[in-house]
Amino acid sequence: MCHWDTAQLRPERGRHGASDVAVARSAVEEPPGPGEGEEDGNPHHHGGGYRVVQWEWSYVQTPYIIATWLLLASVAKILFHFSQRFTTVVPESCMLILLGLVLGGVVLIANEKQLYQLEPALFFLFLLPTIVGDAGYFMPARLFFDNLGAILTYAVVGTLWNAFCTGFCLYAAKLLGRVQADLMDFLLFGALISAVDPVAVLAVFEEVHVNDTLFIIVFGESLVNDAVTVVLYKVYISFVEVGVDNVQTADYFKGVASFLIVSIGGTLVGLVFALILGFITRFTKKVRIIEPLFVFLLVYLAYLTAELFSLSAILSMTFCGIGANKYVEANISQKSRTTVKYTMKTLASIAETIIFIFLGISAVDKSKWAWDTGLVSCTLVFIFVFRAAGVIGQTWVLNRFRLVPLDKIDQVVMSYGGLRGAVAFALVVLLDGKQVKAKDYFVATTIVVVFFTVMFQGLTIKPLVDWLKVPRSTNRKPTINEEIHERAFDHTLAAVEDIAGLQGYHHWRDKWEQFDKNYLSKLLLRKSVYRKSELWEAYQKINIRDAISVIDQVMMTSQICDDALRWPTDVDMY
């Protein structure tokens, strides 16, 4: 994203005695800490006495606060799951936002001012990459590329349509409210409010379990539209800074060129890092213990490098994960695989929790936003209407080209699943209040929109999906027969295409697999792995999985028998 003040993130940890400037995450430059302030480590020098116990608050302040927040968030999650009925109806994201509201209220009352807020810098540098990295690394690549056409269409065309329509209509409707802003401001707002948010989509959809195709289209859209959002945001910010009258036609063309550079550049950066990661893991046999570290570092660096060059960081990280996954998973040891998987998922879960809690907290700080009913209601209506219209229009076009058409139910779920989330909020907070005079109104509207989509739509999407009888995902691991026939299948389809003389999708995929086998895999896979085939690897994995499940079952049975008989385990049960 663009320029933000990273100064607020640097805590200066002085030693005892110095008046510290250990900064809490407060948006305003205010003295840190809840209450205690910057008291010195040694309050009084009694002329040379040795103090047995000392209060070192300023020394440990920042990490202590961070750790306490994490602990609070995690304990909240435990408490939520105590009530089974509650959790099946209300998605976790809702409850976290509500908790955030409560906590925000508490802090506000205790301190008369808001100390904590979702910092854009914190969000974009730490929280978002965690979630996107996890999603990108475990993205089902085959499914993603099978539906790439649909994903690209919705992400690019859909987001542009939403952004422009919302912006223009809000400008037209400004007579309804007190908001004073010009066209550029509204277009800017339209751009940031119209992007589907990956965090929200993940949080809501993972509780709903719709079928894989639908999920990948909505989720893929939320990732790929980052490029569009980045470009629109930057372009409009620069237009706003320069002033509407000074915008030349050349700038519009620069905007279009910028989009291509941002998206393609981001993808290339990601792929380069994927290559590096694959190549490095080829040689990590002697240093197994730090294998997971390479994965995390390189995926994160892919994100940061793209940010460095103002390219699309989300695209970079996603493609790094997709590209590297196959080779890394083959090269690293089983233990490393488990470590990578669980660490990523844990971090992503924590990040998601923090994001939602802070969304709740930020909403309570009234000094940061200004309410305008007209703007809020119009925005809500417009984003719904244009999203639905966009989805219907694009699906109609896409169905002419897709092999498996998207039916009405799919379209309803896609329209309804266009959730806005923390990315929009972070972007709106990032706006410069002096340039964009209506910033406070925009912040309020964004908060309402995000809350509405995450809470209301999050709550109602499950009943909707049930009512519409949307095909769900089975989430079953494939059997050995399915593995065999999947591969036979692919070869069959490629062969029929060759016989029919067509150079269709399967033909090209087959060609890619050949290229991969002859060049890429040779370069990136460990020698011992390269010689094995995927079918063999799949067979091994299934064997291991079955063996583990058999052992688990035996242990469970013996456990049950133990409990039932209350005999020690040396009773012969066979």
Partner: protein, 249 residues
């Protein structure tokens, strides 16, 4: 109708009605057929085997075999002009090969096939349309599964035996490095065992599982969405003239 010479357009229209392809698609496929057969009326196995891009495909033999599978057709070779006596019924858009079962007894394969058979085999790979009902989709799915089953059941006896299955796995593994025959056998054995245990759970350790029947085959593959994945996109527009210099591929 006998052996009367019907005009090509009539034939194409007739085929279009029976297979569900559009006229454009049939024209394109006919062009391709001519290419492969060298402007003859029939193609042989050698014609198909000589397609260069097919050389790398591990299960090439089975697929070519499926085109020449005798049990699929009433007669091996149909006269170019005649409207053949096809005892198949058709419904809107696709063919029910349900009556193929009646021809189970005819094993073996033809040496030459005509355009009709070529088209029949191709019609298995048509995509489903939006307007299909659930029964039609189900029937199409069975069609496609039946095709796959016949492809693997090389001796056409109605079951896929362990030997045939091993062959399939071996060929799938053959293109990648140094996996030995034992590995292929191990995988095939494990797969057969899985089929047996899911479909015949009461089988004792001494019973012999003859082979995978069609019903078992359907069962083990019910997780794969056949009707939505097993198809290719046939061309509506004529692109053969656009591809210069590739007419022999």
């Amino acid at each position: 109708m006998g052996a009367s010479q019907t005009r090509p357009e009539h034939r194409h229209q007739d085929l279009a009605d029976r297979t569900g392809f559009s006229l454009e698609q049939i024209k394109n496929l006919h062009k391709r057929f001519q290419q492969l057969s060298g402007d003859e009326d029939t193609i042989s196995k050698e014609n198909l085997e000589s397609i260069p891009t097919l050389a790398n495909n591990p299960i090439r033999k089975q697929i070519i075999g499926a085109f020449f599978d005798k049990s699929a057709f009433a007669e091996c070779l149909l006269a170019a002009g005649g409207a053949p006596h096809f005892p198949y019924r058709h419904q809107r858009g696709f063919i029910l090969f349900g009556l193929r079962n009646q021809h189970r007894g005819e094993a073996g394969s033809c040496d030459q096939i005509g355009f009709e058979q070529f088209l029949m085999v191709m019609s298995h790979f048509r995509p489903p349309t939006l307007k299909m009902t659930a029964e039609e989709k189900e029937a199409m799915r069975r069609e496609k599964l039946r095709f796959l089953f016949n492809m693997h059941d090389t001796d056409n006896d109605g079951t896929i035996t362990l030997v045939e299955y091993r062959k399939v796995v071996e060929e799938l593994l053959s293109k990648s490095g140094s996996i030995g025959q034992e590995a292929a056998e191990a995988i095939a054995d494990a797969a057969m065992l899985e089929v047996a245990s899911t479909n015949v759970p009461t089988m004792g350790p001494d019973d012999f599982y003859e082979g995978i029947t069609f019903e078992h085959f359907e069962q083990i593959l019910k997780g794969l969405e056949m009707e939505s994945r097993m198809h290719i996109r046939f061309l509506d527009v004529d692109t053969t003239t656009m591809r210069c210099g590739k007419s022999t591929s």
